[in-house]
């Protein structure tokens, strides 16, 4: 994503927002200018703390998902027997909306950050497992045989083939999951916390009816997603240099 494209898109959205605010002409949809002013005022107060709390939860959830799902996806994709055994279980569990497990997670893990991170983890885990599994299973057999012929056994194949081959899939899965992760983050921050953008947006919008502050929180959440996207792009350029070689 080029910076000028991002700026043009942001400008376009601001224009549409301004037009909508002028048409609606109600406090529930303030103009972009009002919101931007409040956004910078709130940054000097506690919006940054809410942003940091959310960033911590979502990155912890994403990191935990990658650490658990990538090896699982590699193991399933790298072995036909494991694939036959475990894929049906994944297909059964994948479509279940994980948000339904929120009460169960709260019951067992309490109402703190661990429960919030676990809910994000539950949602992202399956997306990453499926993508990494498909990538690992799709590695050409000739490449595997070529490595086996120079002495690579199962462990070396995982180290030298399956893991590097699956890195792009892991990053793609992460990129696809950012939207979901941030959306889920909002839900998890609606309860039992006083920090986080979800709490901030809900508190300002539904309790204080301070709509400019609510939209400032929405902008912060959007920036959080954008930052995560750029983070994944950065990792991809660092770890998958071969994809960008011309």
């Amino acid at each position: 994503m080029k910076r000028c494209d991002l700026l043009s898109a942001a400008l376009g959205l601001v224009i549409v927002w301004q037009a909508a605010a002028m048409i609606v002409n109600r406090p529930i949809l303030p103009t972009p200018l009002e919101v931007f002013i409040v956004f910078f005022q709130e940054l000097r107060k506690d919006l940054l703390i809410h942003f940091a709390a959310s960033l911590l939860r979502v990155t912890a959830g994403m990191a935990l998902s990658v650490l658990m799902a990538a090896p699982a996806g590699l193991a399933i994709g790298g072995s036909k027997a494991m694939n036959r055994l475990l894929s049906p279980i994944i297909y059964l569990l994948y479509p279940i909306p994980k948000v339904v497990f929120v009460p169960v997670v709260l019951l067992f893990l309490g109402i703190g950050d661990v429960a919030k991170i676990t809910i994000i983890f539950l949602i992202l885990f399956f997306q990453i497992v499926v993508l990494v599994r498909d990538q690992a299973a799709g590695i050409p057999s000739q490449l595997i045989q070529s490595l086996q012929s120079i002495g690579a056994g199962r462990r070396a194949l995982f180290r030298f083939v399956y893991l590097p081959a699956s890195l792009p899939a892991i990053l793609t899965a992460l990129r696809q999951s950012i939207g979901t992760a941030v959306a889920v983050l909002y839900i998890t921050e609606l309860f039992a916390t006083k920090y986080g953008l979800g709490y901030y947006i809900y508190y300002n919008g539904s309790t204080l009816f301070d709509y400019p502050a609510m939209y400032a929180g929405v902008i912060a959440m959007s920036l959080l997603g954008l930052g995560l996207h750029y983070g994944v792009d950065w990792l991809e350029h660092r770890w998958c240099k071969w994809k960008f070689a011309t």
């Binding site: 000739q142 490449l143 045989q145 490595l147 120079i150 070396a156 030298f160 590097p164």
Partner: protein
């Protein structure tokens, strides 16, 4: 060096590719395996590489029955088998890294293996120094095959198995790499087994040519070609006569 005894192998039990097939290959010999598509030549190479196993019978190399890929055998495939995410230099030293990963366990790495970094030597020997930091997608087909050869030779094999290694290359690059393969095999005293569907390639490279047929192979049909690899042999009458003979035999087999 290679002893194939009563080999039976195939994908269909009613018409196997090999049935009671015997073959002996001496150390340092250069063999070409020729035959029409589906005759089992690549399967035979994979059996020699320890990547496929006989239904019955036995394949031994240096007196050892083959139960898994042998550390001192090198396999080079048509599509090069290079890691797309590794540079040319990293691909060449891959085998060395795999050996260091396991250590001299006798299974993945020869027991007497002493780690040495000869990747740069092979990088230079194969003329790849200028593209050492490039990825496989950034170099030509000929350079990719040179990288695959360098990676294999860095492991100091005594047996080199090649599966149609030059079929995707243009004529000039192909001839250049064929000559280089013969020079390197002689230099390193390698036993070379090359699978090809091209009669001219088999006749230029193989001092012995094993012709397989499209039906079940029960008997090894071997054509002697002692002049293969000699300068100007490709322009000689003997070479053209052998090509014609192989062509006739292959036509006869496919009709």
């Amino acid at each position: 060096m290679i002893q194939i005894d009563s080999l039976t192998f195939g994908y269909s039990p009613t018409s196997p590719l090999f049935d009671g097939f015997n073959l002996f290959i001496e150390r340092g010999e250069t063999w070409a395996i020729l035959g029409p598509s589906g005759c089992g030549k690549t399967s035979l190479l994979y059996l020699l590489a320890g990547l496929k196993f006989p239904t019955s019978g036995k394949i031994s190399i240096d007196g050892q029955s083959l139960a898994r890929p042998r550390p001192r055998s090198g396999l080079i495939l048509q599509d090069y088998g290079l890691l797309p995410w590794s540079t040319v230099h990293e691909n060449i030293e891959l085998g060395l890294k795999v050996r260091s990963f396991y250590g001299p366990d006798g299974r993945h790495t020869p027991k007497n293996y002493f780690p040495k970094d000869n990747a740069n030597h092979w990088l230079e020997r194969l003329g790849l120094s200028d593209v050492a930091d490039k990825f496989p997608a950034q170099i030509s087909g000929g350079q990719r095959q040179r990288t695959a050869i360098a990676r294999t030779l860095a492991l100091e094999p005594d047996l080199l198995l090649m599966d149609e290694p030059f079929s995707a290359l243009d004529a000039v690059t192909r001839e250049d790499l064929q000559n280089l393969t013969l020079v390197l095999s002689a230099e390193q005293n390698l036993t070379l087994v090359i699978v090809t569907h091209a009669i001219e390639e088999a006749a230029s490279l193989g001092k012995k040519i094993l012709l397989l047929n499209g039906e079940t192979n029960q008997r090894a049909r071997v054509f002697q070609n002692p002049q293969a690899g000699n300068v100007d042999y490709r322009n000689s009458a003997a070479y053209h006569d052998l090509c014609k003979l192989l062509w006739k035999e292959m036509q006869h087999e496919t009709v």
